[in-house]
Symmetry: D2
C-alpha cells in the first residue's frame, strides 16, 4: 500500500540512490546481487533436495505464447524444421548411410517467454548497473552486464511466495499491487524465512487467469497484477539475489508511480543490481509447494550464455 507522497518521480529517485549497490562488489562487478549467493548458501540450498521432485517453471516456447508484437516488435518464437520426417519419406537423405535425422531452427526475441533480464537490459538517466553508459550496448551487443556474464548462475535457494493463496483468491486482479508488507505477510503465512542470496519467485496467478479465460487478455504489456513501488524496501532489505514473477513485466500495471515506467526496474535492477525474471509459469510450482507443504527448494535457472545478450530464455527447475 503506497501513500500518495510515495507516488512520485522524486521518491523513485530517492530509492534509486538509497538502494544503489554500485561498487559494493568492486567497480568491475557484473553479477550484482547474485553475489549474495555463496558456496555456503548453495550447499544449504542443495540440502533442500529431499523428495526428488522436479518442477519446470517455463512456459512452452511456441506460437501460443503471450507476444503479439505490440511491445517493441516482440513476437512469439518462430520454430522451423530444416529437416523432417517428410524429407526422410521422399528420399532427401538417401545419400546418408542408414541414419536419418531431423533438425530445426528458431527465431525468437530473447525476452519473448520465460526469461531473465540481464543487468544491461535497463538504463536510467543514461546509466545501467555499475554506472556504465549507453555506449556499452551497441547494435553489436552489450559489452557490460550482458547475460553470459552470469552463465554459471542463477542457482540457489528458491522461495515461492504464493500471493493469491495469501490473499485468499484464485488470482490477483490486473492493477492490484503487492507491497513489502504483503511479501512479508505471505512469507510468514507460508512459514518460510527469506534470507540473503535467495531467489524469490512471486506468483500473482495471472497465468491461471489466462488459462481459465482462454485468452492472454492484457497479459502482454497491459494491465497486470504485480509488485508495487513499496515492495522495493522488502526486496532490498532481504538481500535476495534475484526475483521473478509470473507476469510480463514483474511490476503492477498501470505502475503506481506518476511519470515513471516500471520504477522497480530502475530501483532494483539498475541500482540494486538484481536480476529480474519474467513470464515464469508458477502454476505447477504452486501445486507442488502445497503438496510438499514447503515453499523452499533448489532453484536452478541459468541463462543461455548468449554473448552480449541483454536477456535470455530459461527453463527454471525447482528441485524438491
Amino acid at each position: 500500500m503506497t501513500t500518495l507522497q510515495n507516488n512520485t518521480r522524486q521518491y523513485v529517485e530517492e530509492l534509486c540512490q538509497r538502494y544503489r549497490r554500485w561498487g559494493q562488489w568492486g567497480s568491475e562487478d557484473e553479477h550484482g546481487s547474485l553475489n549474495f549467493i555463496t558456496p555456503d548458501t548453495l550447499v544449504r540450498a542443495g540440502e533442500l533436495i529431499r523428495t526428488g521432485k522436479v518442477v519446470s517453471c517455463a512456459l512452452p516456447f511456441d506460437e501460443n505464447g503471450p507476444q503479439s508484437g505490440r511491445f517493441g516488435g516482440r513476437h512469439n518464437p518462430i520454430h522451423t524444421m530444416v529437416q523432417d520426417g517428410g524429407d526422410i519419406a521422399i528420399g532427401a537423405q538417401d545419400h546418408i548411410k542408414e541414419l536419418r535425422f531431423t533438425d530445426d531452427t528458431i527465431t525468437m526475441p530473447l525476452q519473448c517467454g520465460t526469461q531473465w533480464d540481464a543487468l544491461a537490459h535497463v538504463f536510467h538517466k543514461g546509466r545501467m548497473y555499475g554506472g556504465h553508459g549507453v555506449e556499452h550496448v551497441t547494435s553489436n551487443g552489450a559489452t557490460r552486464n550482458s547475460i553470459e556474464k552470469v552463465a554459471d548462475g542463477i542457482t540457489g535457494r528458491g522461495v515461492l511466495l504464493d500471493m493469491p493463496k495469501y490473499y485468499g483468491v484464485e488470482w490477483m486482479q490486473p492493477g492490484q499491487s503487492i507491497s513489502s508488507a504483503d511479501l512479508a505477510g505471505a512469507a510468514e503465512a507460508q512459514s518460510v524465512e527469506v534470507g540473503r542470496g535467495d531467489i524469490v519467485l512471486i506468483r500473482t496467478g495471472q497465468i491461471a487467469q489466462v488459462r481459465a479465460e482462454g485468452t492472454w487478455g492484457t497479459y502482454e504489456a497491459g494491465d497486470a497484477p504485480g509488485l508495487g513501488i513499496d515492495s522495493a524496501h522488502w526486496i532490498f532489505d532481504k538481500e535476495i539475489s534475484a526475483f521473478c514473477t509470473d507476469t510480463w513485466g514483474a511490476e503492477v500495471q498501470p505502475n503506481d508511480v506518476d511519470g515513471v515506467y516500471q520504477p522497480l526496474h530502475l530501483i532494483l535492477l539498475v541500482n540494486a543490481g538484481i536480476h529480474i525474471g519474467e513470464i515464469f509459469d508458477l502454476e505447477a510450482l504452486s501445486e507442488t509447494c502445497a503438496a510438499e507443504s514447503r515453499y523452499e527448494f533448489l532453484l536452478v535457472a541459468p541463462p543461455l550464455p548468449i554473448t552480449g545478450a541483454v536477456g535470455s530464455p530459461v527453463n527454471p527447475l525447482a528441485i524438491f
Copy 2:
C-alpha cells in the same frame, strides 16, 4: 577397440535389436532412459552438493561457434539487438517515462552449440524411439519424442569421464575411438562408480585442441575423437539416463562401422532411448573435478521446452 567383425551393418542391426528399450516404460513413453532417473537417485545426487561450486558446461552462443553451414546449413547463432544504447542516445525512447531499455533477438539452429538431441532427432529404418514413424515429424514440428516432453529433466547425478587424463594425453586425436573397456577403465581410474540414472559426460579434449590451435579445424562434422561402436555395451549395461561429449557428434569420426553413419545414435538414441548431448564444453569441468578430487556432481541440464523441437540449446550446470 572393435574387432573386424564388429565393423559391419549387420552388427549394428544386432545391437539395435539387443539394446532396444521400446515399450519398457509403456507404449506411450517419451522419456526413454531418462526414466532411470527417480526421486531417489535425484535425492542422492543432491547430496553431492558439498562445496557449492558451480561450473557451466556451455560454449558461448555466438558467431565464434563451430558451425560453418557445412552440415545441413547449421550456422552459428545470429544475435541482433532490436533496441540498444544508441537508440537511447538519439532519443528513440523519449516517449517512455524515465526508463530506457535494450532488447534483442536470436536466430539459431537448435543444435548449433551446446545441445541435447531429442529422441525425435534420429530415425532408423523409418522409426524413431518407441517405433514411431516419420509422419510424426512434419515441417510443423515433432508430435512424438520432441524435446519439450523432457522439460523437467535432464537432471541427476553427473559423472565426468575424463578420457585424455585416462589416456595420459592432452587431448584425444581425431579418429581415436573410445571402447567400453576405456570407459570402465576411466571410471575406475577416477574412483567413480557409474550407475543407473547417471548422466555421463565424456571428455575427449577436442575443445582444448581447438583452443590451443586457434581453429575449429575438423570439429564440425569432420574427423573427431569419440565413442566407438564398442562403447555401446557399457553405456547400455550401466543403465545411464543420458550422456554427452565435448565433440560435434559424440561418435568417433570417421565412424568405425562400414556403411553406417553415426551407428551409436541408432543403437543408443533410437533404440535404447538415450538422450545424447553434444558440443558440451568440459574444459572447466575437468579442472574443477581435478581440484575437487571427485568426478561426480549434480548435473542440471534441462532443455528449453520448445514445442515440437527435435533438439535444444542448453546451459548445463554441474554443481559440486
Copy 3:
C-alpha cells in the same frame, strides 16, 4: 456465375485435364505459360511506354501487413537494424575512417506480401506443373519449377481489369466471384483487348475496403472476393502468361467448388502452368489507368532469384 453441376470435384478434375499444358514447351520446361511472352510481345509492350508514368503495385513490406500467422505460420516481415544512427552516435563505428553506415536484415515468409507463386508452390494428386513429384521439393528447396527459374521474367504487357469499376461498386464483397463473362465484360467496357502473353491484373478492391475500414478483416485466408471456377475458361483461352489479384489468394473465398480448396490453383497453376500473383496493391494503378484512360502498360515484375524458392516477394512496376 457457376452452375450447380460445375460445383464439383469431378468438374475440377475435368478442367485440370482439359487445360493441362504439361509438355507443350518440352518435358523440361519450367516457365509454363510465361512461354507465351516472346520478344515480339515484349517489344509491343514496350511501345506502351508513352507518358512515362510509373506505378508500383507492391504493398509496403512491414509489420502492418495482412499476415497474423493464422495461415501456415505466415507472419509479416520482421525488419531489424543491425547498424543504425544510434550506433554512430555512441561511437560504435569510430574504428572506421570518416564513413558511417547503417545496415539491416529481414526475416520474412516469401509469400507474406506482394508476391508470385512459383510453379513449385502447388501440387495436385502428388504432381506439380510438368508432372513432377513431391520429391522435388524437400526441406532444402525445390529443384524443379522454383522461382529463380523465371528470374528474367515476369515482364510483358500488363492489362488491368478493374472489376469494381465494371460492376459499378467501390469494392467487391467478400464471397463475390468473378466469371469468365465478367472478365470479358470488364475488358470490353475498358476497351482493352487481352491477348497471348499478357499479364492480367485483376482488381477486386479488397485493399480499398481494408483501408476504408481500417482493418485487414477477413483478408488473410478468410472470406474474399475473387476468381470463381468459371473464370478458368477465359484465363486459359486468352493464353495469358500470368495473372494476379489484390487479394490474399486470388480465388473467391469461400471457394465455389465443393470439396476442393483453391481449385483454380490446381487448374491454372498446376496444369496450365500459369504463375499467380497475390496481394498486389492495385489501388494506385486503378487511379492511373483511369487518369490515362487506358488499361494497358508495360508490367515489369521479376521475382528475386532465390534459389529453390517456391515464391518471391516482388515490387511490380507498371510503366505507362
Copy 4:
C-alpha cells in the same frame, strides 16, 4: 588517374561540398538524383526496347553468395522451407481438400546480394543526404531516405560501361581503379552517350574472376577493382540518376584516399544523392550488349518497398 594531392581527406571534403545537391529538389526531397529521371527520359528509355531480350543482373540469392559474416555480420540468405513435398508425402496436409502446397521463408541481410544502398545507408559527419541527422535511423528503421521512398523507381535508361573490354583484359585486377577519363573513354569506345537521368552499370569483371577461379577470394570487403576518387567528377557532371557495379562496394579497394573509407559513398551518395547498386551480376549483360552491339537498354530495378529499410535486394532487368 588521381594526383597525390587528391589523395587526401581535405580533397574528399572539398568534393563533398562541391558536389552537394542537398536542397536542389526541396528540403524534403528523398529521391536525390533519381529526380533526374523524368517522364520524358523514361519514354525515351522505353524506345530502347527493340529486340525484346531481357537480362537479369541479379546474383542468385543463396548460400553460395559472397558473404561470410566478415563485414558487419552480413551472411548469405538463409532460405528455409516451411511446407514441402515431404509434408505432402507423409500426410501433413491431409486436412486440406485436394490442394497441396509448399511454402518458404527467408532470413537475409538486405545488402547480402544484388542490392541498392538507400540514401539512408551512409552518413558523413553525422549527416545523411539532405543534411538529416543520425536520429532519423533508429533500431526501428529509417524515417528519412529509406528505400521504400523510391519504390516506384529505380527505372530508366541503363548504360553498361564494360571496363574490361575497354582496357582489353578479361577482368580488372583487385586494386585497379577507374577514373573519370576511363569512364568517358569506355563510353566513347562503346559509342554510347551518357546523359541526364541515366542509370550507369559499371562492369569490372570481378564476378568473372570469381567464377573462373572458383572462389570469392577477396570479393567481400577485401581488395577489389572499382571506382577511384577521380571518377566523382564524371559521375557528378553527367547528372546520372544512379550507378552500380559488379563488386561488393563499388569503389576500388584499398580506397585511393588516405584516411577515408569509401570516399565516393560520401561524395556521391551522401552529398550528390546518388543511389549506389552493388553486387550486380553484369556478366550476361556484357554478353548481350556485345551481341546486340549496343550498350543502352531500359533498366528496371525497383527496390522492395521495405518500410524504413536502408537497402534492398533487387532483381534488375535490362530490357533490349
